[in-house]
Every structure is written in structure tokens, then in C-alpha cells.
Amino acid sequence: MNKTVNPKDLTSDGDNGPLYVAHKKVYPQSVSGTFRRIKWGLMAVCLGIYYFLPFVRWNRGLGAPSQAVLIDLPNSRFYFFFIELWPQEVYYFTGLLIVAAVALFLMNSVGGRIWCGYLCPQTVWTDVFYAVERLVEGDRRERMKKDKSSDPMKLERISEIVLKHSIWLMIAWWTGGAWVLYFYDAPTLVKELVTFQGPMIAYIWIGILTATTYLLAGYMREQVCTYMCPWPRIQAALTDEWALNVTYRYDRGEKRTSVKKAAELRALGEQVGDCVDCYQCVAVCPTGIDIRNGPQLECIQCGLCIDACDNVMTKIGRPKRLIGYDNDINIHRRQEGKAPIYKIVRARTVAYSAIIAAVGGFMIYTLATRSLLDVNVLHDRNPVAVKLSDGSIRNAYTVRLLNKSGYDRVIAIDASGPANLTIHVVGADSVTPDRPMIVIPRDSTSELRLLVTAPAESNTEKSIPVRFHVTDIGLGEAASATDNFVAP
């Protein structure tokens, strides 16, 4: 990124700077430490789930998919372990999105861009790709040297490059491959794919995701975060003064001096900063910034600079966490000689947690109590009511019965409301008059045309509420829906 220039050193030429910047490649140095370990751990968990979840089996009985997580688009079903969602229950995803968004806000108000630094797919895959690069081509210095070298390519170098891209493409391909497995029975699809029997759409999606993974994690990297992602802009508006962001504690670091000079000055009893200007924090940064310039849009707050600085501080015998998760309030408090305070429980975090708990709780409640038998009723609009030859009134309804269970059901339909009503379902032969019975196959819906007839003399209201009861005559499970019975 642009280097800071002292205004005094500027010799203006009236030029407003370049319109476009060439990409400056970032060469992050390897680093070890607490945050690096957390990142490795989270990476393993995230990728482990992503790559292997489709192979987890879940027994749902005969004829039902036995995949734990499956998005069955042709049949409009979503399976998530013991949950089976229907298209009309898509509002669960709304709830999930609300929880996800508020969780992001909560993370942000507690620890800044935790999502960006540790969990964002862009970060995770870029990290994997960097690891491969480091393994094949060596660490920062070696890579910089190799890229700068203008020597004709040696076989060794060529094989290195080929190897790196091959591994990258394999990871990218596996990433695209894992994606399609969520939409079809995974073992079957794998078999079909390798024998070239798979559906064209699967190959197309694998191709698309292989290409995007390879491009975004191999080439775009930090540019995705700085130029393409809206989250850095949004999070700037969401963060507050108490959020713990990766912070250079300038109260402790300034003034920067060399190790030797610092030791000399300290011996004289003078106040010196701990920062020795070793640029290790810059070298390890995956977005190529200097955290000592303060909070920046490019910073994904992965904490690798903390690890790098800690290592240096340990070596020179100074306390760790010259860079750490902190905020400006504490820096000022320390400057004033007060103890830092960390407030995680604040109005904001409590509110976010409450929203998550409320929405999550409501979702769990509705999921736990949802019925596997349901009925939707739609009144005929044209005509709303029909007068029959004997003067009685008839209303027609489109009734949709939903059997979300794994077995066929015999459903009896009753209606109540208008006095002396009779009901008839088109196409249904009733054994019991006025109580039509329908067989609804497992995991399906049936749309019926239902006619309600009632004498006009005993129903003088213009509109009378009518309630439809559907009962599984085997298990007794019931559901009902209300509509209106309208006079012409």
C-alpha cells in the first residue's frame, strides 16, 4: 500500500497520482504462535466440515435420502440431519440469515473482524494456498528472490511452479467437487463423476468453483478483501470504541529504536519504546499493511502480526503483546497511568446476544413443535359463491394437504361453520357421507377441490368463518385451517 510520506519531503509536480495501480504482490512470512495455531485449528475444522460433510450418512428410512446434509432441488427438499425442510418453510432460512448477520455483528463488537481473520472462506482458502506456496517455493525471502530473478528458467524452478499450480488446482477442484456433493447423494455422484456418467450441470459447477477458488485464493487474495468485499466498509460502521481490534500499542512502542540503542538508553534510565522497527509485523501480514499505522480498511485482523511481534519481544527480552487485541481507550488509559479495562458485556453485545437467543429460540421452538401434517386453504375467487337451483349456497376451495411424514396417510376432512353444511371433494369417493377420505402418499402434497354447500335460509350472514379439519385416521394427528364462507 502507499507508503507514508512526510509532507515536507513532497515535491509537488501538480500530478494527481496514477489512475490505476499495478498489483503489488504480497509475500507473507511464515509465523508461529498462538494466533497462527488458532488459525490452523479453525482452518482444519472449516475445511473438514466443508469437504467431508456430504459423506455423513443419516438414516431416514426406506425411500428417503440417507445423506445428513442434502439440498434436494428436484424434489424441493432440504435435509439437515433430523430436520427436513419444505419449500414453504423457507422462512427458517430467513431466521438462519438473521442469526448469522447478528452473530457477525456480535463478533464485530467483541473482537472486531474475527470473521475476516479466521473464518471467511476467502481467508481460509488463501491461507491454504499460501501454505502450499511456502511448502513448494520456500518462505518470503526465497519467494521474493525467485520472482525477481531474471535468469532463464531452470528445470528445477519450472517444476516448482508446475507443482505449485498442480496442487492449487487439485485443492480448487476438490473444493468445486465438494460443492456439488451437497446437491446429490455423495457416494453415487462421486462414482458417476469419475466414470464420466455424471450430469453436465455437476461438471459445469465443479468447473466454475475450481476456477473461482484457483483465481481468488491463488491470485486475487487480499485484493478480494480490499476491493471487492463490502464487509470492511460495513464493519467500520458497526464497530465501536470498546471492540477489541488488532492494535499496535503505541503507548508502549514509541519511540522506535534499535535493540542496541534501546538497551543503551535504558541503561541511562531514559524512556524508550519497545518497538525495534524490525518490520516483522509487516512481513507476516497477508494483506501487506503496517499495523503500526493504526486501524486500516485492509486489516483482516488475523492476529499474525501479534504472533510475529511476540516472537521478537521474547527474543529481545521485552514483554509480549506490543501488538494485541485492544482498543484506543485502553491505550489512553495506560498513558494516563490507569489500568486498562475490558468491557465485553455492553448494551450492544447484550442486545445482539438477546436477538440471537430470541430468534434462535423461536426457530428451535417452531421446529420442535411443527406438524408433519398440514393443510392450506385457498378460497375460489371467481366465482366467490354459487347459488344452486334449490337456492342454497356453495363455495369452492382449493385445499392443499401436506404429508411431511415418511409414510402414506389416510386423511379425513371435516368442515364446520355454516349451519347444515355438506362437503364434497371432487374425485373422492366417500364411505362416510360428508366426511371425504383421501390417501396422501408419504412426503408429498395433494391439491384437492373442495365444495362446501349450505342452505341460504339458515346462513343469512354475508360471510361466515369456516374451519377445515384434517385428521390422520390412523394416528389421529390433526391440522386445521380457517377461511370464509361467502354468500353471493
Binding site: P7, D15, N16, L19, V21, H23, P383, A396, V426
Partner: protein
Amino acid sequence: MSEHQGEFDAVTGRHTTGHEWDGIKELNTPLPRWWVITFYLTIVWAIGYWIIYPAWPLISSNTTGLLGYSTRASLAVELANLETIRGDKMAALAAASLADIEKDPALLALARAKGKTVFGDNCAPCHGSGAAGAKGYPNLNDDDWLWGGTLDQIMQTIQFGARSGHAKTHEGQMLAFGKDGVLKPEEIVTVANYVRALSGLPTRKGYDAAKGEKIFAENCVACHGDGGKGNQEMGAPNLTDKIWLYGSDEATLIETISQGRAGVMPAWEGRLDPATIKAMAVYVHSLGGGK
């Protein structure tokens, strides 16, 4: 600060664009070059698209593109594919008897869906989109049928129509008793009131019921039957029920008796294929009025 104020930002040491709003200057944050290249590539793509696909409107036509692609042609192909896909189902519909279609939930659903679509295209102009009818055009949701409401009767009416000119069409018409001078105006008023009385409607004060009955017996019973129960052979409506095709008020009845009625329903045989006519019969029957 340098003499060129506004060119550089002292805090960041970066160039500004020279734009200033209320003292806030805009930093020049240049786009990455690959972004610009991507933009140029989209332009190249667009030019290629112009050439390959139909794009340019000319005075009387348009450029057809190298691939000869047209949305109309692809629609025709997709419609043909749809016919093929649905071929089996429509064949099953054609093969099944009307009664069997109503008993088989899958066939019933298909017939109703097909029937509804075709009804909207062909029948809705007269009978209304929900088949509620209008004055002179029967409501197909109710239980009163001029020519019969069983599946076979409905099918027959759709196939051949009523007074359509088809060899097998339903025939029969309400004579113009006034226009043709068969009945005198006051006789028409009397019989109109008698007919209203048949279905329990109030009558004009002081009308002669006995005379009405006599006129009815001499002129109307031949078609409308004893007691005015109607006759589906001739499409003569039941005059004792609550449903009136043209209206039951005295003025309308006088008009009907004076001028006669002979509504026409076109024959659909030859215009729609047999499977479609079958689907429509099932659909109309399932609207609720079918016997």
C-alpha cells in the same frame, strides 16, 4: 504544507483527487490495473456478443448473428419438447374413459390443469375465467344444466355445441310468442307472472293464476314439461328452480316470452383434439356443478 495545497494529503501523505467538499478532500485511491483490464474484457465480450447473436436493429429487420439463434425458434423447439414430454400423459388421458379419469387422482389433476388452461383460452370469453357465466351464458359452477350435467353430456355439449350448425349439435329454441303474434301482450304478462309463481317468486297484484296456468299448459308445457320442470333434450330450462339464465324479473321474462331465446354454443370438435376436449369435460364437471 507545500504550495500546491489540495494535491497532497498531509496525514496520509497520499495524493488527493483535488476534489473538495466542505473542507474534506478526496484521496486518490487508484483502482487496481486488473480491474481495468477486466472492464476492457467485458467490452471485448460485448463486441463478440454483437457479432454472434442477433443484436443490431436495422431498418426493416435486424442482424441475425453468426449462430442464427432466435428466441422464437428456441421457443418453438422447447414447446415441441414439452409436447413430447407430455405425450405419454396426454395419451393416457386420451385412452382413459371419462369416469376413470375422475377416479384416478393423477389423471384428474392432469385433466383439471389442462382443462383449466384450455378453458381460459377458449371458453372464458363467454363463460368467464372462473366459469361463473353471465346473463345468457350459463354458470358452469352451479347444478343447473340446460343440456345435462353428467360427464358424457358435458363432453357432448363441448364437442358439438348448441345450435352451432354441427350435424350432431343440440337443437331446440324458445319461440317468440309475442313477436310471432301467438300470445297477446296481456297474456304474456299473465304467463310471466305464472312462471314467477312456479319458482316461488312474488307475483303482480291481482294477476289471474288460473289464466296463467291455462296459457302455460297450451303453449309452454310441450317444451318445459308439466309444472315447468324443463327438458334437457331440448335445452328447455327448469322454471321451478332458483337459477335463471336471462333473469327472473317480470320485465326480463316478458322479453324472453315475447322475443324468444336461442343462445349459441360453438362446437369444439375439430378445433380441439379429443384428449383436450375430454380434459375440458372433466374440468367443467369438477367445477362443482356436474351431476
